[in-house]
């Protein structure tokens, strides 16, 4: 009888399918979804594949319900995920905030399409970068990974679960229509080769010696339902017992703890790739599918004698401030192409030590390499 686990080896696979195989290997066994282009293949494949490994994949009535169900499933002990695109992502903001304050490890995949509003559902966009960080009200921190290939989509989905479990927080995989729907080579490791992180669990015995929310520690262990913990988990600002409070002093303690879980670990969370950076005079900073065009542009620039390089940001949030600072110190300019009208360029500008050339591209297609190449040429001149 088949174990149902993905077959190790080299596969030719759609990005959205690879994401599901990765989730299975990461230990995810709960999917709650709502169909939306161009992410529906993730949901469809989860409906085929999750039951094969004893997991659950269900369709909810909307995206608010999906994320609410994930948090419930997470507190029941499951690793849980959903997938969506812009309009659904907007609806999820409410309960992403809930997952943050409730410290529920969940994974949300956003296959970005052209926006705003219903936009162009079938075509690419990168317009949700700021929303992924700032979309939910109040002070929250999110961890956001942005893959630019099917292999990266696979690897980062596993990474997203590991980060979520370790920090007890929602993690977002912010990909785009091109990576989601593209068929590409992907190497699937055997289960033994995959590093899987499990959350620390609070048990009733431990609770007799400590409070459930100790705001002086790094990350509190998670009480799971049905194990005798009987802890109150609240969407209201809560004290170290989990009880609602209006104390500004406790509000500060709680928020510093919640935000600190991500801020204090920012350096470990930063993932990025550098291409031909060492002697570069102009560096293109790109993420997602745009990094593919950017690499092509950089290679073309090199062939024309321009010392260009590429910094591909994989972790978009927490923002890799030091990485930008370091790279920008010894170059003449940074070129920042995005399939939007200026989003990640804002924090880049905040930390860059050199001039910045923004390349904005209307959602609907991949940025053509020659457009980035032109900008590199201007920056180098």
């Amino acid at each position: 009888m088949s174990s149902g686990l993905p077959r190790p080896g080299v596969h030719f696979m759609m990005g959205n399918f690879a994401c599901v195989e990765a989730a299975i290997l990461a230990g995810c066994r709960f999917f709650a979804g709502y169909p939306i282009t161009p992410s529906s293949e993730i949901f469809e494949r989860a409906c085929v594949r999750f039951p094969q490994v004893g997991g659950i994949a269900v369709e909810m009535e909307d995206e608010m319900a999906s994320v609410a169900a994930l948090i419930g499933a997470s507190y029941a002990g499951a690793k849980a995920m959903t997938a969506t695109s812009g309009p659904g992502f907007s609806l999820m903001m409410e309960n992403i905030g809930l997952a943050f304050i409730m410290e529920a490890p969940i994974v949300i995949v956003n296959v970005q399409r052209a926006g705003p509003s219903t936009g162009i559902p079938t075509l690419i966009g990168q317009g949700d970068v700021m929303q992924a960080r700032w979309g939910s009200h109040g002070d929250i921190e999110t961890v956001v990974y942005s893959p630019s290939s099917v292999q990266e989509f696979f690897d980062l989905t596993i990474q997203a679960f590991n980060t979520a479990e370790r920090l007890r927080t929602p993690v977002i995989v912010l990909t785009d229509q091109l990576v989601g729907l593209m068929w590409e080579k992907v190497v699937i490791p055997s289960p033994e080769e995959v590093k899987v992180v499990e959350r620390k669990i609070m048990d009733a015995r431990l609770l007799s010696t400590r409070l459930p929310f100790d705001y002086t520690v790094d990350v509190n262990p998670m009480p799971i339902v049905g194990t005798g913990c009987r802890v109150n988990i609240d969407s209201l600002t809560h004290d170290e017992r989990g009880y609602p409070t209006t104390s500004q002093e406790i509000s500060e303690k709680m928020l510093r703890y919640l935000l600190g879980k991500i801020r204090n670990h920012a350096r470990e969370l930063w993932l990025y790739k550098e291409f031909m950076i060492d002697d570069a005079e102009v560096v293109v900073v790109a993420y997602g599918s745009t990094a593919r065009s950017a690499l092509n542009a950089v290679k073309q620039a090199r062939s024309r004698g321009i010392k260009a390089g590429l910094l591909q940001l994989i972790t978009l949030w927490p923002f890799p401030s030091d990485v930008i600072e370091k790279v920008s110190q010894h170059v003449n300019a940074l070129v920042v192409p995005e399939i939007n009208f200026g989003q990640l360029v804002h924090p880049i500008r905040e930390y860059a030590k050199c001039p910045i050339l923004e390349v904005n591209w209307a959602p609907g297609s991949l940025i053509e390499p020659n457009v980035i190449l032109d900008a590199v040429g201007v920056a180098a001149a």
Partner: protein, 283 residues
């Protein structure tokens, strides 16, 4: 000679986070009665407290979860049923109860309510209906009777309210009841029953709200609406649900255990799907 009697602990104290009391509810509010009934039903259910989960949304009734000494969750406005669905799918062995208000369950959360009933999700939903948004100071919602005055219907409510038992039964619930805070014994029994039903179980509990709803609608004192319940309630388990909408105009206030039927629960069907898929080839 004066005899000093030492106050004993209440028999349900172990089910409450008694260190959090007194609660936040106003004098004359019915939610405390309902919370006590829930505690009694838990005790009577024979299911140990650590196997009960209490989930609420936002609002006055939403505070119940935080007072229950159980695994408890105070979620976002309207989403308690969706939260409970995810939790209960992973742990179908637990007794999951959603307690929240009418605004939370049937107005902002109305979509989740009807879909959970349609799917026959095996959870219990106790909806406390006090005809208005109490926590925010008294605004009208999806259950406010026609003509009722609230801060957002100052000239009288012109929106027809939902007839909730009719709606939930039509959506496919396995158990549907309506009681008032006067019918404590029947309420406890209905709650106990819903904990044994495998399927979507729903109780609407009509409850007084003297300061924000009652004040403007002829029920200003704590006992006014209780007196109304005593005078107009009619127990009819076989009532025609299409005719039990509430007007609060002296018409019969029909209460009872209206629906109690079996069909496979959502959790059972999900487990059946897993059995069907097991061992199928992977990629």
């Amino acid at each position: 000679m004066t005899q000093v009697v030492k106050a004993r602990r209440h028999p349900r104290d172990s089910l409450l986070r008694s260190e959090r009391l007194p609660h936040i509810w106003c004098p004359g509010c019915g939610i405390g009665i309902i919370m006590a009934a829930y505690a009694d039903a838990i005790e009577a259910s024979g299911i140990p407290p650590e196997k009960h989960v209490c989930i609420s949304g936002i609002g006055c009734t939403g505070r119940v979860s935080g007072y229950m000494h159980l695994d408890s969750f105070h979620t976002t406005h309207g989403r308690a049923i969706a939260f409970a669905t995810g939790l209960s799918l992973v742990r179908p062995d637990l007794e999951v109860t959603v307690i929240s208000g009418d605004g939370d369950i049937c107005t902002i959360g109305g979509n989740h309510l009807i879909h959970a009933a349609r799917r026959n999700v095996d959870i219990n939903v106790i909806m406390v209906n006090n005809f208005n948004y109490g926590m925010t100071g008294g605004q009208h919602g999806g259950t406010t009777p026609l003509g009722a005055k609230t801060y957002t219907s100052p000239y009288g409510n012109f929106e027809a309210p939902f007839n909730i038992p009719y709606l939930v039964a039509a959506a496919g619930a396995s158990f549907v009841a309506r009681w008032t805070t006067l019918h404590v014994r029947q309420l406890i029994n209905a709650m106990k029953r819903m904990m044994s039903v495998e399927g979507f179980s729903f109780i609407e509990v009509i409850s007084p709200c003297p300061p924000t709803f009652g004040e403007f609608n002829n029920f200003p004192e704590a006992l006014d609406m209780m007196e109304y319940f005593r005078k107009y309630s009619v127990i009819d388990h076989n009532a025609d649900l299409s005719k039990i909408g509430i007007r609060l105009q002296g018409e019969p206030l029909v209460v009872g255990n209206f629906v109690d039927k079996r069909r496979p629960s959502y959790q059972e069907l999900v487990q059946e799907t897993i059995r069907k898929a097991a061992g199928r080839e992977s990629v």
